[in-house]
Symmetry: C2
Amino acid sequence: MAATEITKLQAAPRVNLYEEVSGRILRLIDNGVYKIGDRIPSVRALSQQLSVSISTVTEAYRLMEDQGRIEARPQSGYYVRPYLAHLPEPATSQPIVEPTPVGNGELVMRVMRDTADPRLLQLGAAIPNPELLPLGKLSRSMTAVLRKDKNLGSTYDAPLGCEPLRVQIARRALGAGCTLTPDQVLTTVGGAEALNLCLQVVCRPGDTIAIESPMFYGILQTIESLGLKALEIPTHPRDGISLEALRYALDQNDVRACLVIPNFSNPLGSCMPDENKKALAELAAERGIPLIEDDVYGELYFGHERPKVIRAFDKTGNVLLCSSFSKTVAPGYRVGWVAAGRFQAQVEYLKFVRNVSTPVPTQMAVAAFLESGGYDHHLRRIRRTYAKQVALMAQAVARYFPEGTKVTRPQGGYVIWVEMPAHVDSIELYRVALHSGVTIAPGPIFSARGKYRNFVRLNAAFWSDKVKDAIKNLGRLAAEMKK
Amino acid sequence: MAATEITKLQAAPRVNLYEEVSGRILRLIDNGVYKIGDRIPSVRALSQQLSVSISTVTEAYRLMEDQGRIEARPQSGYYVRPYLAHLPEPATSQPIVEPTPVGNGELVMRVMRDTADPRLLQLGAAIPNPELLPLGKLSRSMTAVLRKDKNLGSTYDAPLGCEPLRVQIARRALGAGCTLTPDQVLTTVGGAEALNLCLQVVCRPGDTIAIESPMFYGILQTIESLGLKALEIPTHPRDGISLEALRYALDQNDVRACLVIPNFSNPLGSCMPDENKKALAELAAERGIPLIEDDVYGELYFGHERPKVIRAFDKTGNVLLCSSFSKTVAPGYRVGWVAAGRFQAQVEYLKFVRNVSTPVPTQMAVAAFLESGGYDHHLRRIRRTYAKQVALMAQAVARYFPEGTKVTRPQGGYVIWVEMPAHVDSIELYRVALHSGVTIAPGPIFSARGKYRNFVRLNAAFWSDKVKDAIKNLGRLAAEMKK
C-alpha cells in the first residue's frame, strides 16, 4: 500500500480513483485478508492510509455496498458480506468433445419470440434494460446528424461503414489494450452479423469450429446455419475456456477456427485472465487457426478495470475481434463492428455481397453520441447497476432455489448461469414459468448436443421486487419437480 | 375511343387521367398509327374526342415531350419524334447455357468503390440521383418517429421487422397485382439482403441457379459467395428471359432455383409481358423450382401502368418476391423486404441468425414517410424525370458512339445497356474513362463467364450537360480503339 503505487495509479486515465480503491479492497477480500464478517478499515483510516480524500473512500464503499460485497452496520463500520460465498459455483463444464452438428433451433426461436411479449417478465433472452440505455441522448444525436447533413443516407455507403463511427471505435479499442486504425474496422448490423461474416469467411460447410461450452445459442445457430460442426470445449465458470482441453482437442481433431467470448462469456460470465488470453492468441497463431473473439459484454465489467481483448495479444492478424453497441446503447439500432485482422479484405467483400453496407443514420447517431463524450459516464452508471442486480439475483436464487443449486459469479454482463439439482428439467421449467408470466432461457439451447438440461440462464437486467418474487416462484416450481 | 372506355378508366384509382391519355397516344405510335414525323391530334381536338379537359391533354403531351416521344413545333402542333427508333436494339443475348462458377469479384469492387469518389461522374453503379430522393421528408419522418416513441430501438425487434412498415408494403403490393398480408412480409437490410436470404434458404453449395443474362453483378457475386453455379439463360432486351430457352435448360440441367428481375431488368431494362410472367410462375411451380423475383425497379415504370410482379400469378407460394426502397427513397437507409411464400419461416429463421432483425429507426422513418402519403406524388415526379433522362442519354449514345452501336429501350429504371462494335473492349474503356473522371460499368461484370466484353451499362440518373459531354467523350474513346 505504498504511496508510490497510488501515484502510479492516479496516472492511469481510464479508471476512477474510487473504483481503484474499491478494487483494491475487493482483492484483499478475495485473497482472504478480510474474511466474511470481518470489519474493513474505517473510511477515515483508509483515507489516511492511501492518501486519498474521505469522499473517494466513501464513494468506493458505496460501490462495494451496491455490489453487495460489504454492508454498513450502524455505529460500527463496514463488514464483509457473504457475497455468494456460501453458494457453490458450477464446476468446469464437461461437454463431450466431439464435433457435432447443432440442433435446437425451434426452442431458441420460441425464447426469442417471448421478448416481443410485454406481459412477460424478461428473464430469458439477454436483452438490456431499456431504462439503462441512453435513448434520449441517442435520439437527439440522430436529430443532430440529420440536421447537419441534408444528404444523409442518399447514397450507398462503402462496405466498411461510416468513418466517424469507425474513428470512435478505434479510439475506444485502446481501452481494451489494442491499437486499431479506423480502416481496420468494419461496421455491421449488430454483433451477430459480425460473427456471421467472420465464420463465413474462415470456414467452409462441414468444417469444425472449437467453442466454449456452454455457448450463447445465437452463435450455435449460426454454426448450424453454415453447415459447420461445433467442438465444445470444457470451460471454467470464472476463467473461461480450458486451454489444456482446447490444446488436446486441437491435437485430436481437424479444427478450422476457434470462437470464444473471453470477457463475460454468455452464459457463464467468465473472464479469461490475461495470461490465458495471451496463451490462446499464441496457440491459435502457432496452429494457424483463426480465432474469432466476441467482446460484446467487454464494457460491462464489475471490477476496477476494463479487461483486455485477446486481440491485444495478437501479433499476426489472426484474431477477428467482434463487438457491438447492442448491450450498452440500443439493440434496435443494430450497430456492431468487426476488426478482422488478416481476413479484413475478405470480410469487406462478403459484407458488400450480403447487404452492401450497414444503414447510415443509425451508425451516425451512435457516432455522434460517442463523440459527445457522455458514453463513459453512462457506462459507469450501468456497470454499477448491473453489478448490483446480478449480485441480488444470485442471492435470491441461493435463497429460493432447491438445495444443491449452484450459481456462477459473473465478473461482468448481466446474466447468471444456474445449475439446479440433476433431476430438474429446465425445458419443463421454461414451460411452466411461461404460464406464470415469466420467460427464462433453458440450458439445452446453450449446447450443440442439448446438454445442460438442469441449467437455466437468468437475465438480471430487469431486477425488481417483481423479479425477486418470480425467482421465488421459479425456485418453488423447480423444487416441486419430481426426481 | 368510345366514351364508355374513358369512363371505365376514370374509375381505376391508381392511374392519373393524363397518364392514361398519354399511354393511349403512345400505343397508337407504337402500333404505327402515327409514324415518326406525323402530326398527332391537336390538344383541342383530342380533348373533344376523349371528353377530357384541355389541361389534361396538355399535361399528357408535356409528359410525352419529357419522355422525348413527341415535340412541339411552333405554330404547327405536336409531332412524333424519332425516339430511339433509328437505334437498333441489341439482340436476345446468347450466353453459353452451362452451369458455371462466377468470377469477376475484384472488378465489381472497383466499380463500387468509384461511387465513393465525389470527383467522378457516376455513370457506373446504378445509384439513384440524390436530388431525386425525398431526403427532407424522410429526415422529418425520422425526427417525428423518435419524438413519438421515446423507446424506439430499445429492444431487439422480431426478425419480421417493424409492423407499420410491413403494413405499408402490403398495401402497395396491391398496385403490383398481389395480395400480401403484413405477416407475409419480412424487412431486410436493402434488397441485397433479401436476395441473399432467399438464395441461402432455397439452395445448397454446389447447386445450379438459372438466371437472366446479362444479370446485375451484385446477384452474380451472391451466387459466387454461396458456392452456387449460374446457368445463364438467353434474354430479350424488351421481353426479358426467354421461356423457351429456360424450359430447354431446365430439361438439360439439374436446376435448384430460378432468379429473375422481371420488371426493368438490370441492366437490360426489359419488362416481361404479363403472359410471360404467368407462364414462368406456372413453369416454376410445375417443376417444383422456387422462383426468386427481384422487383427493385418495379415502381420506376415509364409507361402508364405499374407492371405486375410474377408473384401476382403465383398460386402455390413458390415465388419469393424481393424489393427495396433503395432506388426511390434512400439507398443509405438500407430498407428492403421479402415476401418468401412457402419459404417464409425458413427466411425468418435465417434472418434471425444472420443479424437478428433490420435496424428499427430507419424502417420506422420509411414507414412514416409512406404513411404521410407523399410517396406516390414523389414517384410520379421521378418516373417522369428518369424516363426523360434515359431517352436523352440513349439519344446521345446514338449520336456520339461508333457506328454499329446498339442500345436498349428500357421501359423503366434509369440504366441503359449499350452494345458497341465487337472489337471495343469495355474494361479498357472503363480504365481510360476513369482517367477522364467518369466511371462506367463494363459488360463482363454482368456475366458469370465474363461475356459482354463490348457492352457497357450506363446510369442515366445524373443526366446533365456535363454527362452529355462525357458520353461524347466516351464515344470518341470507343471509336479510337483499334480493331
